[in-house]
Amino acid sequence: MSDPRPRQQDGADRPASEAQSPPAIELRDIDKSFGPVRANKNVCLSVRPGAIHGIIGENGAGKSTLMSILYGFYEADRGEILIGGKQTRIRSSRDAIAAGIGMVHQHFMLVDNMSVVENIMLGAESGAILTSSVAAARAELERLERDYNLDVDPDALAGELPVGQQQRVEILKALYRGAEILILDEPTGVLTPQETEQLFRILDSLRKQGVTIVLITHKLREIMAVTDDVSVMRGGEMIAHRSTAETSKEELAELMVGRKVLLSIDKQAPQAGATVLAVEDLSFVDRAGVPRVDKVSFAVRAGEIVGIAGVSGNGQSELLELLSGIKPITSGGFSLMGERFSAGRSLDPAAMRDLKVAHVPEDRLRSGLVRTFAAEESAILGYHRDPAYTGRIFMDRDAIQQDCARKMADFDVRPQNPNLKTANFSGGNQQKLVLAREISRDPRLLLVGQPTRGVDIGAIEFIHRNIVSMRDAGSAVLLVSVELDEIMSLSDRILVMFEGRIVGEVPAHEANERLLGLMMANAAPERSGVAG
Amino acid sequence: AEIDPAVVFDMGGKFDKSFNEGVFNGVEKFKKETGISYREFEVTNETQREQALRRMAQRGADPVVGVGFAQAPAIEKVAKEFPDTRFAIIDAVVDLPNVRSVVFKEHEGSFLVGMIAALKSESGKVGFVGGMDIPLIRKFACGYEQGAKHVNGSAEVLQNMTGTTPAAWNDPTRGSELAKSQFGRGVDVVYAAAGGTGIGVYQTAKDSGKLAIGVDSNQNHLQPGTMLTSMLKRVDVAAYNAFKDANDGNWSAGIQVLGLAEDGVGWALDENNKDLISADIMAAVEAASADIVAGKLSVHDYMSDNSCTY
């Protein structure tokens, strides 16, 4: 790879998005099958140069596949790709990079144990020996950071960065290679509102410099906010193109799902009952000696949903892991329906489950499911010792299968096949499977982390409705999410976490995005104080 | 009628540069002399011994020679099944009417080379490298030690064993390291009874300008000038005789104990090492040899009481 050329010079003497200039990207009749699955069916797409083009569609609609084809990660079975009006063969990512395409993948393509600089120069080094490449990369990185306001510590290990920062690294990677077309596949799925806002500012400044952007997202609000055009995919086909200015959220939702979707939930006022969970001065110090959860105190009552807002990495994950018995308590403790847990008393997730604490983990694939298991096996994870499923020695296959089929029917998991491998379900359906497993056991306390990450709007609606009906049935719910929309629409009370501490509490009806955003950055005036 | 002889080699394989190869040389010699070819098999695991012996007998082979003490249980079993087939086992005793057992007095041969080693040594320290710490090898070591002490009461005998897996018989690298460590401690003559491992011992002796003693067959030619001598164990003769006696109608079952007196063991002198063996050494060794044959000098056999006290 030659040295990454600053792109502005190209962009500067080129008139931005003229009507007569050829499309930046044109896809014609792209077709792609994975075995029996036809992921893309004769897909056509045309993207104006210098525009932000949104692509939406349900989970599994074929968006990622289409973009991976454009980026040369997969090769299409059929079809043509035109870049800047010129027919281009893209057989590998190398071809795509040469054609000026950069991509930020849905699942980041970073090497966790390498530094940011190393990740950025990978594949675009300036010579066989790294010393000079590192210097060049640093200089260019500084320039990019300045120009686009994208600062990251170049020496940090990629794996140790918060996701928002990781994403910046991905964007920097693309820019470093001189991308004139930037594809972002669900970039906001893991970002906080502030990070999302920042990302959009960056995209905006990129657009001004003449970069063409393709943005895949499930969030219609974002489509409406930043895109110029939008295309809708369903079942592998491209079914509609709209100019963003001439469409609405409702229309897009309907195009996507093929039916009307309720975009907000209406729920009754809470009927809060007895205190189920009382957390007192709970702390957790990690191996490096950093306090991750710092003297946290709060309570959750039966029949209410308490939401915990915060920028990811501020101790929410650890809090959930403490309460579900995965991590050991360092000091302080909590009581659960009168039973007290503290540093001395060793906890384990199995015992917590026996106390009817259910836990929907933040990362379903990392801890909530086993990819290689049949769905029915994943559907009993954590409850596999339950006498309903297992005798003294052998597990009761029929019971497990019937149980899974019932859950799948109740939660509309598709395809409704208990024997299908877990990995072969889409993200949304995997999430429903986890939720079904945890909710269907009538927990007294439900711990939920990021219930709708990467899930399409149809499924979000469904998941939200289920969480609310849990509450209405009298369960205590503790919800952790970085989606402020989600927190605000589901919670009865909202706690904000910052650097391991709870820095404030807001009743749901008083909450708004600005206030929560400020509190999450610990910049809000002390309002209601720490909840006791 | 012509006989249809067979030989079953043991795990070392017929090219192990010592024991099995000795047998191989013996039966090859028989083949060359008589033109009678023989069947052969090299076993690769414990179970194949019995299989191979039985298969030979079934095919009408006669006599069947089994090489090595490990074949004793298998010969015992198969010889009972085929009472009309003649068997010979080398290095072990199987007491059956159709089995000839040939065992050697390795301690006597080792005694002589131990004498030579001690007589030749300037440092008074001689070395021994064994393949694995098993009774047979201890028998070699014990005889060697007695021989060395016989000529030099204050001689020191350093002993090393190569390893504990079958690889120990084929590990020249480790043999070389063992020899180097002994040389480092002042040894200047080393005797190896370790199969293919010996190759490394001899090479190292040569590289370090020291002397080495071979084992089983005459290995003097391997490193002329370095090989002081070889302890001969005439398994080739034993195998040759088994075939020849059967062919000539002189077959006898029972135990044959081959020592110095029977020329079953000895030491090698040829053009490769004649310059290393002085007349004095020669005389001393010949005298001791005659004494042993005459029963005036007795060499303790490790196997007699499982210890090397003499």
Binding site: F34, M109, L110, M114, G123, E125 | F15, S176, G184
Partner: protein
Amino acid sequence: MLFNLLLSVDATFRVATPLILCAMAGLFSERSGVVDIGLEGKMLAAAFAAAAVAAVTGSAWLALAAGMAVSVGLALLHGFACITHRGDQVVSGVAINILVSGLTVVLGIAWFARGGQTPSVSNEARFTPITWPGAEAVADVPIIGPLYSELLSGHNLLVYVAFLIVPLTWWVVYRTRFGLRLRAVGENPNAVDTAGISVSGLRYRAMICCGLLCGIAGTYLSIAQNAAFVRDMTAGQGYIALAAMIFGKWRPVPAMLACLMFGFLDAIAIRLQGVEVPVIGPIPVQLIQALPYVLTVVLLAGFIGRAVAPKASGIPYVKER
């Protein structure tokens, strides 16, 4: 006593040399995401090829070239099975070990008719110890003398090569473009692929590095440390090297230290044989022979933290599930 220690250290260098070369070879392979338990086989094949060529041509350098070529050939075969055809990497390694163990003897018998051994090669066709200038002269100076003349001087070329290979490996892995990509492809091949680099190409190159180094190791065994090929002469050293590489957590210098530690324990064990302990009497030989292995386990359990393998190692790279 001190002199004895010195000799042990000296032996350590000799014993550790093939282990170090093999451990570095394994490091290249596993860092690229290809598990290689075929180090043993490659080393054995190289040992045979080197000894055969040395015996026939009388040239140590041609022998080295032959050893490396054969070993690279096998490394490419491993790559063909595991990279191109996504075969199981462990099975492929086992297959190569078994194949070589048989084939070297078959060819040896066919070519030299010495039961699978090659003829002994003369010193001219070997890598023999090199005496450094002045080694004799300073030998009697206390401390520095023996250190210089025994430890530093008097090894064969390949020993020095092995110890130079370690910093070289370090430099390649951490300071070059190839090394950067190598580390990346073993952790996350998707990242490499999307960066426009061929995953297979990189892995094949890593296999070639692995083959070259195993080739040197095998050549060392048969015509530097010894003077002939004997069947199965590697005697498990490939596995020990693999263990050392894991012990060193897939990093060059710690892996080298692990090899040295193993060589040292081995050298000590050799010198401990037959030593009598007061009161207890002679220690059984077998206990001493097991000592290096027992101590390795103890050290591993006591001081070395959890070793984390390159994340992608062992998993064939497939884009489309």
